[in-house]
Symmetry: C2
Subunit: 266 residues, 2 copies
């Protein structure tokens, strides 16, 4: 399970304040904690700061790379120009978050994606908005695989986001996501799947409980990656344990190490 740390997002009050005050130490402390906890990519998002997104984004990248020069970044912006400038700034090939199956957006993003050897987070949204059915999500995934391959992105670099929604508003949301996950893996060999984990628990209490139970079920359905909070103990404990139960942790080595080192506190 590939963990994309979600914490450096200016929609979070403390991060916004740190960006506002150019508090590099706050950002660096946070990302080092995320890496220590097991994040393989660090998400960066300054989209809430519309008037200064570009300069704030570049500042964040520089600050993060100062503390962790080899960090892989997941660059998250709705603005292709922000992403275009950001990809020239990063030390490691980034993940670009995101393109979609919306025609105009895909056209805007294609040159940025084409300009570097990046991983691509592809969101299964089309011009009709948030998909209503598994078929619609699956069709959008098909469009995205086809179009991304046309511009030279190999399947291994595609992370298909199947647009996880809240179980509080749609009881079938989780089941639908498992179904689409299985279909993508069965039909687009090599393509990875990813989700924005916390969406599933929106509107309900004890969100960490829902997020962590969801991830176990989603991993069993083939989910490869999640944008989530690696500092959520229950979540990370569940991921370690699910790897054991799915036969992916030889001799339970990673699990028992995590218990011994205190990562698993349960």
């Amino acid at each position: 399970m590939l963990i994309v740390g979600e914490r450096i997002n200016t929609s979070r009050k403390k991060v916004n304040q740190a960006v506002e005050q150019r508090d590099a130490v706050y950002i660096q402390t946070d990302i080092l904690a995320q890496l220590e906890a097991g994040a393989e990519l660090i998400g960066v998002n300054a989209g809430s700061r519309r008037d200064s997104e570009l300069e704030d984004f570049i500042w964040l990248i520089d600050v993060i790379q100062e503390a962790a020069p080899k960090a892989h970044l997941c660059l998250d912006s709705p603005n292709p120009e922000v992403l275009r400038q950001a990809v020239n700034r990063v030390n490691q090939a980034p993940m670009l978050n995101s393109t979609t199956a919306e025609k105009a957006r895909f056209q805007d993003m294609a040159p940025v994606i084409h300009s570097c050897e990046c991983d691509v987070l592809a969101l299964c949204i089309d011009d009709r908005g948030i998909p209503k059915s598994a078929d619609q999500i699956y069709d959008n995934a098909g469009f995205l695989v086809l179009e991304l391959e046309k511009i030279g992105v190999p399947r291994q670099r595609i992370y298909m986001d199947t647009v996880l929604t809240a179980v509080s508003t749609n009881q079938q949301a989780a089941l639908l996501s498992f179904d689409v996950n299985r279909r993508i893996h069965a039909n687009f060999d090599g393509v990875n799947t990813i989700c924005g984990l916390s969406n599933v628990s929106f509107g309900l209490p004890k969100r960490s409980l829902i997020n962590s139970t969801y991830i176990a079920l989603a991993m069993a359905a083939g989910l490869d990656a999640a944008i989530c909070n690696p500092l959520d103990d229950r979540l990370m404990e569940t991921i370690f344990t699910t790897e054991v139960l799915l036969g992916k942790d030889q001799w339970c080595q990673r699990y028992t190490c995590a218990v011994r080192s205190g990562i698993i506190k349960a």
Copy 2:
């Protein structure tokens, strides 16, 4: 998810002591806590007390029924004679734990099963011992369904135990159990599946974490019931949450009630 409380078992030191000292209050306090926590059946097992199993077993039944006259009991003994006498003592139709696909044992158990309207826990073990493969477990399940139907047990009363084993000794143990669960549901309409949950975590640290993660995955694979500890908070929280994610908790009502009443503490 049907919960069979596993706590009243004389292989547990405190329960053995309570039975030894005829401490009815200890037993009654425990079973009331199990019922309060959500157990629908109370398991009773005095198998470790070989010299006095029958009288201890009957004492336990009487003590439990004194405190909870309507409690459903899961009567667990390897000795058909103990079960024969016990079924005459219970107020409610019990679950009998267990028969197996071992020829002699099935013959011994058949008259006891036939003597009352009981649920039957059928363990997919045959004369070769613990099954080595999903096919062997599935074949034993087929034998048990056929033979139990012959003696008049409807499928709805059969709880098929697919012999969950430890992931510490067999990395495929959990995956194998999911596979067999799906096959039993696909091919024996109406039959329920059950597992002895704690077997899966034998030999590993933080067993509650493994048990609770396993149960989420097993529920997604169709598991109907578990013999487990209903006083394990993490386990019960995970069961409530999994029901939400599998679309089985309309409007998330049971989940939000459990949060409000403090059953979900997470």
